[in-house]
């Protein structure tokens, strides 16, 4: 959100011809630079410099004790490795799953409970898991999804033993159930943001539509939803970025396994760097992941913000 708001504001003045940057004097440029300096310095020191360092390291074969220059070898190894395709498929499943579930469910919950009498209570119970950390969520779900866990025990108790599964042991089932677990936790933030969006809709438009005879689904589809667009851009943007860097829940539930079947790009990065102590190879994955996240975010936001 912090990234989006200034970007949105920069776009708008640029489209109005009255205020052109050419009219600014040197003093005002200096003032703008001074105001921007702390933010630019922070982003520079905490993000750009580490990224450049990571990119530099990705050209080396580095085990933490010695380092040799290998050019693009780390990238070639990564892109040609047998597991890379699977990792991309998993990452894509997370992106699609995160867009389909938390965003959609969040929207439905927000709209469905917005004007209900006990809506606040319903929302509270649905938003509550968002207060848990990813790690805590994963631990809870481990108890549910393990082979001798609560879900299989419940199925057996209900006489549905034939439905028992190794939920975390088979791909793609494990990725799907992990997306469900992450939905349980992550829907809360979508609900909160959509509620903010709903509150920002002028009641007059809704009333006018009602006077014209719109109600139910038509009211939602033609009046409410279009006005939720700005907040949808934010929710979808956050979800896409979060899903691309999914790590904690997968690491704790399946460790990317069995083998590397449920690994995402973030897990590959961790495994290369911290398990295998191949810092150069890990850095190469980090660069690829960053490029993917920035490219997707840029393409999406550019389109959406222009459309706005």
């Amino acid at each position: 959100m912090t990234v989006l708001t200034p970007a949105a504001e920069v776009e708008r003045p640029a489209s109005t011809p009255a205020a052109g940057p050419a009219r600014r004097g040197p003093r005002s440029v200096l003032a703008v630079a001074l105001f921007l300096a702390p933010a630019v310095a922070l982003v520079g020191v905490l993000m750009i410099v580490p990224f450049l360092d990571t990119a530099y390291r990705s050209f080396f074969n580095d085990n933490g004790l010695s380092r040799t220059f290998v050019g693009l070898d780390n990238y070639v190894t990564l892109l040609t490795s047998s597991g890379f395709g699977q990792t991309l498929v998993n990452t894509l499943m997370w992106v699609v799953g995160t867009l389909a579930l938390p965003v959609l469910i969040g929207l439905l919950i927000a709209v469905g409970t917005h004007e209900l009498r006990w809506g606040a209570l319903a929302r509270f119970s649905l938003v509550l898991p968002y207060a848990l950390s990813g790690a805590a969520t994963a631990v809870v779900w481990t108890f549910v999804l393990r082979d001798d866990g609560a879900l299989n025990a419940a199925l057996a108790a209900l006489g549905l033993a034939h439905l028992e599964q190794g939920w975390l042991l088979e791909w793609p089932l494990n990725t799907v159930v992990m997306i469900v677990a992450s939905t349980w936790q992550g829907t809360g933030v979508a609900v909160i943001l959509f509620l903010i969006g709903l509150q920002a809709i002028p009641p007059s438009t809704i009333e006018a539509a009602k006077l014209d005879g719109a109600s139910g689904f038509r009211l939602f589809w033609h009046i409410t939803l279009p006005q939720l667009r700005p907040i949808t851009v934010v929710v979808v943007g956050i979800s896409v970025v979060n899903s691309l860097k999914t790590f904690d829940i997968v690491w704790l539930l399946s460790k990317g396994g069995p083998g590397t079947a449920s690994e995402t790009l973030a897990l590959t990065m961790y495994r290369e760097t911290f398990t295998l102590a191949r810092y150069g190879a890990g850095a190469a994955v980090a660069v690829v992941l960053t490029v993917v996240v920035v490219a997707v975010s840029w393409l999406y936001l550019r389109r959406q913000l222009q459309a706005n």
Binding site: N63, G64, L65, L168
Partner: protein
Amino acid sequence: MIDRPPCPPRGLARRTLLGLVGAGALAAATGCARGSYTRPAPGNVLTLNNDVATWSEAYDAASAVLERRTGSRLAVRAVPNQSTYQQIVRMSAQTDATTDLFKWWNGYRLQDIARGGIVTDLSAVWDQAEAEGWVNPSMRGSFSFDGRAWALPLYKTYYPVFFSRRTFADAGVAVPTTFAEFVDVAATLRDAGVTPIGAPGATTWESIIWFTQLLIGHSPDFYEDVTAGRASYLDDTATAAMELWSRMYADGFFSEPDVDASDFPGRFAEGTLGMALAGTFNVNSYTEAGLGPADVGMFLLPPVDPGAEQAVVVESAALCVSANAHKHDQAMAVADAWLATDVQQAWVDRLGDASANPAALPTGSLVTDLARDVERVRPREVTRYWEASPPVLVEGNVQDLSAFMVTPTVDNGIAVLRNMQDRADAEWKAWRA
């Protein structure tokens, strides 16, 4: 309302106060960081870094004896996350922020850092310890690289089969003396509605345990050759081991692969689990659950091939002296005394596990009987798979073996062996480069 003091001075004062507190905390934090990492520890204290928080009492006990012998005592730091710990050691070892001594792993993991030049040559210490009879000379190989020894054994964990005496008594079975008898025991337990063998590993390193055991059960020589890159994972011996493992799964001998070993003591006590092949370091979790020698026993798994030599997997963490130690001389003196019987006795009495010094048997531990058995039978000791090949090769193979445990068919086993050989080809090339 009227009595309230005007706001601005209060705001300023608070801000100043906060600023001072913040600056003070920052100064204190930097001071601490400097004091504890980049300078020698005060007095006669030597610093030791390790990744097991629960060993601090045992270190204290060993430290008390070491102080009498060498004048130095140990201050132990624990970083309980293994990955983080490895990063810290690797990154700090080349700076002046390293500890004087640190824990590592033997075998190829030790070779990995010995090549990096961050540990001290301890060959003379080994010569002395062997002359004193403090250590079995056959262990030296897994602590050596390039003809020199780089660390000392911190302890010695064996991998026997733990079994529940209650479960065995309920099913009317006795400790097996041949592999065929072991299979019969497992079948009897299964027919009695008990899980015969608890075997975790779906997402953990524990997937190597049964793979290793079945390999050494066929041929310890082959195991040592394949882990050293001298034999192929596609050899008949490896295939036979994989087929047997798969058959044992098909026969219903194993638990689901995502069980948690920390549940085993409870299941032993209630009689719902028969056996578990595990390191003797697990003994503490059984003791803490209130189980003693009357509840839990251990035996060495007999070889699959009756003609093969009886072998047992051994794991020994490594005690290293940092090349950059602040108090290098004192650290070397501690290394000289580490394997002495009195130091080891104090250490293993608290640790509950076995020592590399055969004269120091842990008092009152479940492991004592096993250690005596080992002394009597003198099985061939092989290095655990985790330390027996280059780390990157092991880590990849662990994941493949985990995948096999999830889908333990013969076809999948053969596919896993093929993956392991492909990885071995690539990683041995990288290791030898």
